[in-house]
């Protein structure tokens, strides 16, 4: 396997212009104290506001034409980061540059145009589609409002969007509940593409679909990428899907990026112990009666993350420094970054045991 992977061309499209640049972005969610809580706190009760660092100082650059896979387990902040990148959730700290410009600094028309350029496709198609609107209205509403089509052109425009997403325009007068899960996801895709975006954030977009339908939707994503020269941030917990689709993979754990590398490097030479255990835990269809590899312990609560390196309580290679000091995300090879103290050890060669 590794032979064919190394033969594959090294990091592609690194030369493209920067589409999204995430610089030191954090997002915190606080559970404010209610009235009774505030009084109790004043009286000296041991309660305080709970703050979750969903995303903690993340840097990420996505270049034009790239497919970046964002991987992590529940609570790692991948969806929060995706929402911030798509522009539907403001960051608490840091800046997100869209083609070199800060979106928050743009006004009126420019801001709207920038917002339209980045669209999001969600996991659950049913809860992201208005059940009271017909498919034609769901897909055509935004383009009409933003002047991408006219009343007289509306029908034709919607037909074209539906056909591109693999839906028969005959069904445009139907409601979302009259479709199957796979078709609903196609409606979500058609809606996102109807405003002619350049960049798509797909948040677990195939996770709820059956394998045979999942393959159809993944193929559609790849076809659209070619046809429309799209850039993707593909968020998923499914490493198989990410490996198949992405040029570059970013792995998050409890709000921090722990590793970032071209796809073939992640799957053949993962550096961070978390990435390694994640890869070992993925069930493989080639396996026969194998002993399942296990990572000890659970994912800690993001309310109360471990000190130092967040992964140290579960890490097989942890030593004292991991408990005390947060490791920095450092380049271990060109285009390959990892956040692990082991890489500073001499005679280590950048690979944990």
């Amino acid at each position: 396997m590794s032979e064919t992977m190394q033969a594959a061309p090294a990091p592609v499209r690194a030369e493209g212009e920067k589409m999204i640049e995430v610089v030191g972005v954090s997002r915190r969610f606080a559970k404010r104290l209610d009235f009774a809580g505030k009084i109790l706190a004043k009286l000296g009760a041991p309660i305080r506001e709970e703050v979750v660092h969903a995303v903690d100082k993340v840097d990420l650059t996505i270049r034009k034409g790239e497919v970046v896979g964002l991987v992590g387990e529940s609570g790692c902040g991948k969806s929060t980061l995706g929402r911030m990148v798509a522009g539907i959730l403001p960051p608490s700290d840091g800046t997100i540059l869209w083609k070199g410009k800060d979106r928050t600094g743009l006004g009126g028309k420019d801001a709207r145009a920038a917002m339209l350029q980045a669209q999001m496709i969600f996991q659950d198609p049913m809860s992201s589609l208005n059940p009271r609107l017909k498919v034609a209205e769901i897909i055509g509403e935004a383009p009409l409002v933003h002047g991408l089509t006219t009343r007289s052109e509306f029908g034709r425009y919607v037909d074209e969007q539906m056909r591109r997403a693999g839906l028969d325009p005959v069904f445009k007068a139907r409601y979302p509940h009259q479709f199957s899960g796979g078709q609903r996801q196609r409606i979500g895709i058609a809606r996102a593409l109807a405003v002619q975006p350049e960049f798509l954030v797909c948040d677990e977009s195939v996770a709820a679909l059956d394998v045979s339908i999942q393959a159809q939707i993944l193929n559609l994503f790849m076809k659209l990428r070619q046809e429309l020269d799209l850039t993707y941030l593909f968020i998923s917990h499914d490493l198989g899907v990410v490996e198949h689709l992405s040029d570059r993979v970013v792995i998050m754990y409890l709000g921090r990026v722990v590793e970032e590398a071209p796809t073939e490097v992640v799957f053949s030479r993962a550096n961070h112990p978390y990435t390694q255990s994640l890869l070992a835990a993925v069930p493989r269809i080639e396996a026969r009666k194998k002993a399942f590899a296990t990572v000890k312990g659970e994912i800690p609560s993001p309310l109360n993350p471990p000190s130092g390196c967040h992964f140290h309580p579960r890490c097989p290679h942890a030593f004292d420094r991991c408990r005390a000091e947060v490791p920095a995300l450092k380049e271990v090879a060109p285009g390959h970054k990892s956040r692990c103290h082991l890489n500073d050890l001499p005679n280590h060669g950048g690979m944990p045991v």
């Binding site: 594959a8 387990e73 529940s74 199957s180 899960g181 796979g182 078709q183 059956d210 394998v211 045979s212 339908i213 999942q214 393959a215 159809q216 993944l218 193929n219 790849m222 076809k223 917990h237 490493l239 198989g240 899907v241 490996e243 198949h244 689709l245 796809t263 073939e264 255990s277 994640l278 070992a280 835990a281 993925v282 069930p283 493989r284 269809i285 080639e286 396996a287 026969r288 009666k289 194998k290 002993a291 399942f292 590899a293 296990t294 990572v295 659970e298 994912i299």
Partner: protein, 336 residues
């Protein structure tokens, strides 16, 4: 026909023969489980695989006799320990359920009562089925929690379900299923909602249990990769029927049925990176409007005129059955 797998000497723990379960809806009879037969040997794991609506969960519920109105088992046998569960009375089933046969659900909160402490629930379960002192039951509950990998079981016994994480809750549900050392566990997608690293831990525990206690397991899932590493045999379901049945190696390495073949082809890791995935065209048919004959014919690349008749389940290769007139024999290395 007689299921021929596995060909071991000891009688299998469970034999399902020509099981039929239907739901009588206003729109008509929905044959959710249609002529399903399989065996599960002692200490063996059967992976029951299928997409949504294929009837895999209803098969599991039928074995537990948990199918509710408007559903009903309309035919076939479920032979378990010399008894046909289809004919068992409600009282007999109550004795068997949770005791000799246990079920684990996708959502552990289906098993757990949110307002009772774990120890109350576990002790209650034990005392429902046998005479056991409170203290002995508590001891057993503690040991079982330890067995499924819950740290500090003594304190955790006093916790409520909401105080556990999703993975830990599923472990508690598994521990409750194990309390009576059942002969058979029906596990319905128990790791689907869990994270990969937690799923790995649970799969490792289950594997250990099947090997050490001799408990047989039916593992219902949509994920072929999970059963690849866990199961001994696989039954692939499509539209209420078993499309293919055999050992893991036979079914996954040499699939006979075009549906199994298509399903395996659409798994990303089986494809070259970045190339279009092989896909099965169309979508799963509604069980209310199945075409006459093979239910897969409209999506099947090998369909021919003969497929408009009903294909029988046939042992096409030794101990490897499929319900297909035009199986993939070339790939399996056999001349047609």
């Amino acid at each position: 026909m007689e299921p021929s797998i596995p060909a071991s000497a000891a009688p299998p723990t469970l034999q399902v023969r020509n099981l039929q379960t239907s739901f009588f809806t206003r729109a008509g009879e929905v044959k959710a489980v249609n002529d399903v037969s399989f065996n599960v040997g002692r200490g063996k794991v059967l992976g029951l695989v299928g997409e949504s609506g294929s009837g895999k969960t209803v098969t599991g519920f039928s074995i537990m006799r948990l199918v509710d109105e408007p559903g009903r088992i309309t035919g076939g046998q479920i032979l378990f320990g010399g008894q046909d569960l289809v004919k068992a009375s409600e009282e007999e089933m109550r004795q068997i359920r949770g005791n000799r046969v246990a079920m684990i659900f996708q959502d552990p909160m289906m098993t757990l009562n949110p307002v009772l402490r774990i120890d109350t629930q576990m002790i209650e379960t034990m005392q429902a089925h046998r005479k056991i002192s409170h203290e002995a039951a508590r001891q057993r509950a503690r040991d079982t929690l330890g067995m499924v990998g819950i740290p500090s079981p003594d304190e955790r016994l006093k916790a409520y379900p909401h105080q556990f994480s999703g993975g830990m809750r599923q472990r508690v549900a598994i521990a409750i299923a194990l309390l009576h050392e059942p002969d058979l566990i029906v596990a319905d997608e128990p790791t689907t909602a869990l994270d990969v690293t937690i799923q790995g831990q649970i799969l490792a525990e289950v594997q250990k249990l099947a090997a050490t206690t001799g408990t047989s397991i039916i593992w219902i899932t949509h994920d072929l990769s999970v059963v690849a590493g866990l199961a001994d045999d696989i039954a692939v379901m499509y539209a209420g029927r078993i499309a293919e049945y055999g050992s893991v190696a036979d079914v996954l390495d040499h699939p006979l049925h075009p549906y199994t073949n298509g399903l395996l082809g659409s798994v990303p890791s089986r494809n070259k990176r970045g190339e279009p995935l092989r896909q099965i065209p169309g979508m799963t048919p509604s069980l209310l409007s199945l075409p006459p004959g093979c239910p897969f014919q409209n999506r099947c690349p090998r369909a021919a005129d003969v497929c408009r008749q009903d294909p029988p389940m046939a042992e096409i290769l030794p101990a490897h059955e499929a319900r297909c007139f035009r199986p993939h024999l070339e790939e399996a290395g056999v001349a047609a």
